[in-house]
């Protein structure tokens, strides 16, 4: 390549004139730069929308709390928000913004479960928060505490902003502020179908029987069936889990709502309140007794399960590790005739690994509660 001539920068000249019309030009190429909607938007931003620029503290500041002129509808800024004010979408009247747990309430739930060692069930009743939510709060606060210990950064400004924008359930020591309904029962998918089940008129067909029909389980044995002269269990006593189906198709038999309800002792409590009206001490004693009995029986069941698990194990301490030998059952039922079944321990033969295949879901897709 031939040598290039050096460029003398002093000989270069730049035109420095500014095109003023260019500066005034809109970036949009739309023929009508200001549409009607756009004009309305700016009118709103400078008119009624001005009050949203500096939102009221301790208020959700949804559109429906203000009138068309941008004035607050409720009397005074200190009055609590009504349901009307909690509708964020003015055209969707059915949507009401639900309260989230306040920071105080979250910490109180954690304290009662982890410090005072109360059961999730008890805390749920005391603070009016659903049991699953109590469990979730305890887990999340534990994670948060661990992150603090590890000096990891927390998204506190974000959390604070969210708590300012949404309605929250406060915690007060003097009175119980219920967060949500705690004794709700979700609709069981088995009961979605419509069933016609012929049965004799004389048969005492109760909720237990209906659950069995929905689960396609066999009829109760005669000694438990009223129609056959047996003594039936009352629906609320029918709490023993039962299974129906084999292998992959195995599922729980649907139990009556009385047995599945999260806080059955609250129903007993309500009954006591009606029966023993005025006798508050007795009502309270029965209530605490029921809770204690429940806690004891659960603890016993847990111990029994632990002991049964431990019975199958031999632990050998070798200093550095512990060898845990579990006694298992290897059977033809587990592996099947082809030896490819997965119910017995051990890696199977003749079954390729499919974990690298397309479409294999490796993360859990559902949470068992």
């Amino acid at each position: 390549m031939p040598p290039r001539a050096a460029v003398n920068i002093h000989n270069l000249s730049f035109k420095t004139s500014i095109c003023t019309s260019c500066l005034r030009r809109d970036f949009s190429s739309t023929p009508a730069p200001q549409t009607r909607l756009r004009r309305q938007m700016f009118a709103w931003l400078q008119g009624p929308g001005e009050s949203f620029r500096h939102p009221l503290p301790n208020s959700t500041n949804y559109l429906s709390a203000y009138n068309r002129q941008g004035k607050l509808l409720r009397e005074g800024e200190d009055t609590p928000e009504s349901t009307e004010d909690l509708r964020p979408f003015p055209l969707n009247k059915t949507f009401v913004s639900e309260a989230i747990l306040s920071e105080d309430l979250r910490q109180e739930i954690w304290r009662r479960v982890q410090v005072e060692k109360k059961s999730v069930r008890t805390v749920s009743v005391e603070l009016g928060v659903e049991m699953r939510r109590v469990g979730a709060v305890v887990r999340l606060v534990e994670v948060e505490n661990q992150m603090r210990e590890e000096r990891k950064q927390l998204a506190l400004p974000y959390a604070r902003a969210i708590h300012e924008m949404l309605p929250t359930t406060p915690y007060s020591q003097s009175k119980v502020v219920r967060h949500e309904s705690i004794n709700d029962l979700p609709v069981h998918p088995l009961t979605d179908q419509q069933l016609f089940y012929p049965t004799s008129e004389s048969r005492a067909f109760n909720r237990t029987d209906a659950g069995r029909v929905f689960s396609a389980a066999t009829r109760l044995p005669d000694e438990q069936d009223v129609a056959q002269g047996g003594a039936a269990k009352q629906p609320w006593q029918d709490i023993q889990p039962e299974k129906v189906g084999k292998g992959k198709n195995e599922m729980d038999i649907l139990k009556p709502a009385d047995a599945r309800i999260p806080h059955p002792h609250l129903i007993a409590f309500a009954k006591d309140q009606q029966e023993l009206r005025g006798n508050d001490d007795e009502i309270k004693n029965r209530y605490t007794q029921r809770l204690e009995d429940d806690a004891t029986s659960r603890a016993e069941a847990r111990e029994r399960k632990f002991a049964a698990d431990e019975k199958r194990k031999t632990r050998v301490d070798t200093g550095r590790w512990q060898f845990v030998v579990t006694d298992v059952k290897v059977s033809r039922q587990g592996t099947g005739i082809t030896g490819r079944g997965a119910a017995s321990p051990g890696m199977r033969y003749g079954v390729p690994h499919e974990d690298r295949k397309k479409g294999q879901v490796k993360i859990p897709t559902r949470v068992e509660v």
């Binding site: 031999t314 632990r315 550095r320 590790w321 512990q322 060898f323 030998v325 290897v330 017995s344 321990p345």
Partner: protein, 144 residues
């Protein structure tokens, strides 16, 4: 032909995991065996802490074994390989070689699988209670 109790390594690279199998001596290591008796995971596992057992024990190596079938195969003359001998030594089903893990083990021995099991479980529970009490005392001391 000799029938052996031995380990088969069917797992992937860098992920050791063994099937404890009954197989003919001359067959290939990972070929289809006469029977699978269990598994052996040599990677030490961290025990999960739970709400009811917050203290974690030391790491453990997980072995799953059908002891009834193993006894049967030993009874009809199956020969355990060296690796399987170690596992059986811990259970008292085979004489533990001196100097091996099985011989060093504090719980290993011949009488483990009998009626002593109950006493063993009670012993562990007592130990656990003692540990818990000690921890509580230590906590109290720390507070003081």
């Amino acid at each position: 032909m000799v029938v052996k109790l031995r380990l088969a390594r069917l797992s992937k690279r860098h992920q050791p995991f063994y099937n404890i199998v009954v197989a003919k001596d001359r067959s290939a290591r990972d070929s289809k065996p006469m029977e699978v008796l269990g598994t052996f995971n040599p990677v030490p596992q961290t025990p999960l802490a739970s709400q009811f057992q917050p203290t974690q024990d030391k790491k453990f190596k997980d072995i799953q074994l059908d002891i009834t079938r193993t006894k049967y195969w030993l009874g009809v003359g199956a020969q355990p390989s060296e690796g399987v001998q170690g596992i059986l030594g811990m259970l008292g089903l085979w004489e533990a070689k001196p100097g091996t893990m099985a011989a060093r083990g504090s719980v290993g021995g011949a009488a483990r699988m009998g009626g002593e099991k109950e006493a063993q479980i009670e012993g562990w529970e007592r130990e656990r209670e003692r540990e818990r009490e000690q921890e509580k005392e230590m906590e109290r001391d720390a507070v003081v």
